[in-house]
Structures are given as structure tokens and as C-alpha cells.
């Protein structure tokens, strides 16, 4: 059994690695034939299971993109729903290959926790949601409030900083699972629900009367959310990183899941030909097949498509997540 596995790895390595030596996690992904992806337990727009247990959301699509790039099949993904508390341990231990769970990029996580952030899927910031009938218009009026949030998040730390910096007291009520936070906030256990503004928009759909709540104007932190891999596999880091860039680049070039097949055949633009793998050797450098980017866009879509499909329904405008050409922060490094 072990012999077969080793042989398979050896063959896979020989097949893919001409420039770079495949990393251990990459090997594992190829030999097991799927990407084990850590996602959240249920956050509409990011990763949410439907009644049949099929996952959707922008974080889920990133996993699918990585699978398309590495294995050529966007469906070769298995999902591990994780609570915020479990996610880093699961990644550190190797329980999952990629963590794509609206995770904030911070220095500590990038270094001491033994993790590598591959990029940013969504620029976000922490906000507050309150009941409209509370009559509060600013987060600075929240002195003495009870605040519901998730365990093991940057939110917990930012919240402490914010209240301390403004000389306000508060009562933290910290749950392990997001659904319990929402249930407790909805039950009136807390005056305030705080998490990333995208999370507020998403979880709002799970409230009994979404219209009775409002998000306060203050955004108290920077929350760049992106996929994470463990230290020790640069090749996988590259693959995930360039999956994001490929999605952005595709949007910039106007390549979508619908037109890419046609454009690959007829478009003479060398950048497009390079992107789909008809020219150049981008895939080789990454240790992936030549059509890796083509697979991502054709099977999953470009960033704008993902945003339309997943985030727009929870009523979040693109804002800072627009392309740099449209005044946003999304900027793909050149694919060449």
C-alpha cells in the first residue's frame, strides 16, 4: 500500500515538477486526488451548505479554483466545516490542505502560528450591528453594551481595543459557533453584534426580522480576508496565490467562464494566449499544467463572476473590492 502510494507520488512528481520540486502538501493533494479545504460552518456568501450539503460561496469557489488549477477538476474538493476556534489547529496539523474561511491576515498568524497567507479574496473591516429601536447612531455611543461575537477571531481583539481606546465598558458574550452568536443576538442577549461587515451582511439574512437592524457607520479595523496554507510548502502557496491572481487577471482581461473557450481559440492578444496556456510556460514554473488558469476561469469563473454570484445577493456593494482600474484595491500581479 505504502509502496503504491510512494510510487504514485514519485510519478506525479516526475510528471509535474520540472522546475520546482513539489512540496509535501502538494504531493498529498495530487496523490489523494482532491483538495481538503477548510471552510466556515455556514456564512452565506462565503461558504454555506444547502439542504443537500452542497457548498457555495466565494471562499468555496476559491477552493474550487485551487482544485481546478492543481488537479484540473474544480469538483475535486472536499470541505471541512470548521469553527473559528478550530481552523488554525486543523491547518497546522495537516487535517486540511487549504484554509479558505474568511480569515484575517495578521502578522502573528503569518509568522508565529506557522501559516502563510496566499493573498486577499475580500477586503473587509469590522463593524457593529444593532437593533434600530435602540436609537444608537454611532459605535461611540455603545458604552456599557453587551456585545456578541465569535470565539477565536481578530474581532475579539479589535473589540477590546476599540472599547478601551474610547474609554467605554462592555460585556463580551463570546460563542464558539457563528449560528449561536446570531441566535443569541436575535434573542436579545446582546445589544450589539460585531464581526466583519461582510459577516454582518451575511448573518443578517439569518435574523428573524432583518429590517429591524442596522449596521453602524464605524468600521474599526482592517480585515483583509484570504486563503491560508501551512508553512513548508512553497509550491502550494504559489498555486493558491496565483489562483487568486488568475481570477482577478481574468476579470481585467474580460475573460469569463462563458467566453474563455471561444477567446482561447480566436483571440490573438498574446496576454490572453499566455493566460490560457497556449503560449509561454507559466504553468511549468508553478509546477502545474499549462492550462491551469484556463481551468480556473472556465470551471469556476473570474472574480467579478464570483462576486456577482455570491456576494451581491447579500447586498454588499463591490466598494474597495473593485479592480484597481475602477478605484478598488484588487490588483493582480502580472501573469508573465
Amino acid at each position: 500500500m505504502k509502496l503504491i502510494k510512494t510510487t504514485a507520488i514519485a510519478i506525479a512528481t516526475a510528471a509535474t515538477a520540472s522546475a520546482a520540486l513539489a512540496g509535501p502538501v502538494m504531493d498529498k493533494i495530487i496523490s489523494q486526488g482532491h483538495v481538503q479545504c477548510g471552510v466556515s460552518q455556514g456564512l452565506p456568501g462565503f461558504s454555506n451548505p444547502d439542504a443537500n450539503g452542497d457548498w457555495s460561496g466565494i471562499d468555496v469557489d476559491l477552493c474550487r479554483g485551487v482544485a481546478a488549477a492543481i488537479l484540473g477538476d474544480a469538483d475535486a474538493v472536499k470541505y471541512s466545516p470548521l469553527s473559528a476556534k478550530e481552523r488554525f489547529t486543523a491547518l497546522q496539523s495537516g487535517e486540511i490542505d487549504v484554509l479558505s474561511r474568511n480569515t484575517t491576515w495578521t502578522a502573528t498568524r503569518d509568522t508565529a502560528l506557522g501559516l502563510n497567507f496566499a493573498g486577499v479574496m475580500f477586503y473587509d473591516g469590522q463593524g457593529f450591528m444593532v437593533r434600530k429601536d435602540l436609537g444608537v447612531d454611532s459605535a461611540l455611543e455603545l458604552d456599557g453594551a453587551s456585545v456578541c461575537t465569535n470565539q477565536g477571531t481578530t474581532t475579539e481583539l479589535n473589540m477590546a481595543d476599540f472599547f478601551r481606546a474610547n474609554g467605554m465598558s462592555y460585556e463580551p458574550v463570546v460563542f464558539e459557533k457563528a449560528d449561536e452568536v446570531v441566535a443569541a443576538y436575535d434573542a436579545g442577549r446582546c445589544d450589539v453584534y460585531t464581526t466583519d461587515t461582510s459577516g454582518l451582511a451575511a448573518q443578517r439574512t439569518k435574523l428573524a426580522d432583518p429590517g429591524a437592524h442596522k449596521v453602524l457607520p464605524e468600521v474599526i479595523s482592517k480585515e483583509p480576508l484570504g486563503p491560508v496554507v501551512a508553512h513548508g510548502d512553497d509550491q502550494l502557496l504559489d498555486a493558491v496565490k496565483w489562483t487568486i491572481y488568475a481570477m482577478l487577471e481574468a476579470e481585467e482581461m474580460g475573460l469569463t467562464s462563458k467566453n474563455i473557450k471561444n477567446k482561447a481559440a480566436v483571440d490573438t492578444n498574446p496576454a490572453v494566449q499566455r493566460f490560457v496556456g497556449n503560449e509561454g510556460s507559466l504553468g511549468e514554473g508553478l509546477g502545474l499544467s499549462a492550462d491551469w488558469a484556463y481551468n480556473i476561469v472556465s470551471q469556476v469563473g473570474n472574480y467579478a463572476e464570483l462576486y456577482e454570484k455570491n456576494i451581491t445577493p447579500i447586498e454588499l456593494p463591490r466598494g474597495v473590492n473593485s479592480l484597481w482600474t475602477q478605484g478598488g484595491l484588487m490588483y493582480a500581479m502580472p501573469l508573465r
Partner: protein, 369 residues
Amino acid sequence: MAEKYTPGTHPDLPPPKNLVGPAAWIRDNLFSGPVNSIMTLFCLYLLWVIVPPLVNWLFLNADWIGTSRDDCSKEGACWVFIDVWMRQLMYGRYPAEEIWRINLSYILVVLTALPLFFKAVPSKVKGALAGVLLIVYPIVFFYLYVGGSFGLEFVETPRWGGLFLTLVIAVTGIVASLPLGIVLALGRRSEMPVVKSLCVVFIEFWRGIPLITVLFMASVMFPLFVPEDLSPDKLVRALVGVALFSSAYMAEVIRGGLQAIPKGQYEAAAAMGLSYWKSMLLVILPQALKMVIPGIVNTFIGLFKDTTLVLIIGLFDLLGMAQAAATNTDWLGFTIEGYVFAAFGFFVFCFAMSRYSQRLERALDTGHK
């Protein structure tokens, strides 16, 4: 006018009216004194406060028929919610067209287990059936549920859920922990100091830590402890955690049985020239295990209830599934119905088992202490 009887021929008179009948029963059992009367009134008040609203909510004002939340008035329970989600609550996200596999296994288990409850069935047949239940079925069902061979479609374990998953975890836990528990119990009573202390440490360790930490470590930390290429399925790891955990409890139950066997039995077995294993397997264990069947059933009940903790590590058992259903945006606000249904499911199993164990306890109680 009194009739006359010769001495000794007077027929038995009925007891005085105030000593028989409902009135007397009520007086004796409910109002035999001031304290008792107050208690009775208090109990009646309690019942009056609790029962009518509960019945109203559960049955009278409840909505039973429909397909969406609009079919539910807000006055009583919305059983439509349970009805719509029934498949998920029972089988999780197991593919609909493959559910016959699970039902088939249920039918097989019931058919095999049924004869065990009848006295008329000879004990040899019973033994064979028990062997099938405990050894053959686990293997067969593994292939049946997982699929991927014998032309069955492969169903990955994250799709397993609901009551089905609860049963899988509880039954695997008990089937695996029984032999392990026997070995540990024998080890703890062994005369070899090293073996004995290893078993004591093992048992006390697992009995001392909360199951939730065991499950946490099994689900996310396990790969850290083993070589890189060893990575069993998450459900399998949770099962191993549960089995090890309950084996420690099982060991203590069985040890109780071993201690209750009179020393003469050990000595007699030794005098017959039986080796250690033979004397254990043929003489001691059959007696000891029979004695602790109620304890084993109780351990099983505990295990059955503890399976709910797997929802904390992201597996959807009956309770987890009920919660997941209640957070579906189309079905918000029916959390309590979900909890009540899950409670009903657990209660049916646990209550039946505890009644069974009490009956066994009485049947096995031969009177002498």
C-alpha cells in the same frame, strides 16, 4: 332488624365504605395528613400550570400539514418544519436514492435482534445471532454504508448525518469498546504490576478528561501526532476517540462484574487445570458479563446521549441536523421545534433502553445479596 346467625356462620361483611373505593384511595394516597395535602395541592398546581399550555402548543394549536413556513400559524408548534426536513433529520445528507441501504441495515438488525428477546429460542441460536450482530454486521454495514464496491455508489462520510449518524457513532462505540473494555478490566485485575498499572493509567486518563476535548483533538489535532501520510477519515477518528473514551467506562463496569464473582470460581477453574485465558473465557467472563448487562446498557445510554457532542466538531448528528435546519433562512424561528423533535428522538431510544435494563436487572436479581 338484625338477622340472627349461629356463632361462626356470620358472612363476611363488606369493609366500611370509607376504607375502599376511589375516595379512600385518594385519602390514603393524596391527603393522609396536612403535609401530604399541601404537597398534593402543590403538585396539582404544578400540573395545571405546565400541562395545558404544553398540550396546546404540542398538539392542539400545532400545524401538521403543509410544505412551507407560511402553512404555520405562530400559535402552536410547526411540525411542518420537521416534516419538510425529515429526510435530513433521519439520514443527514445521504443521497436520497441510496437511503435504501440504511433502511435495509435497520431491517436486518431488527430481524436478527428480535429472536434474542424470546425465551423459546434456544441459546445456541441466540449466541449465533449475537455473533452476527456484533461481528458480521459491523463489517457488512461498513461496506454497505460507505459503498465504492459491489456496485454500490461511494458515499463520503461528511454526507452522513441525522439519526443515522447518531446510531453509527453510538453502536460503533459500544461494539468496539466492549472487547477493549474486557481486556482493560482483566488487565486492571492482573497480577502483573506493569500491565496492571498501564491499564489503571489508561482507564483513569480517559475517565478523567471531558469527551469534548477528546473529540477536539481527534478532529483537528490528530494529524499532528502521527506520521504525515497517515490521515484517516474525520468520522473514523471521532469514532476511535469515542470508542477509547467509552472503553474506559466499560472497563470499570466489567471490573465490577469480575469482582463480584466469588473467589471459589477462580480457584475451581484453576483446579480444573484451565489456563488463564481458558478460565477467563469459559468460566469467569460468561458469569461476570451476564451480571453487568444492565451496567453495559447504562453505559450505552450514556454514550448514545454523548454522541450529540460531535456537533461541536462539525458532524451533523440528530441534534446538529436539527440546529442546521433551524438556521436555514427559509425556516428561521423554529429552533424549539427542532430541539423538541431531537429530544423526542433521543428520549425514545434512551427510555426504551433504560426500561430494558431495569427489567434485566430484576430478572437477573436472584435475590441474595
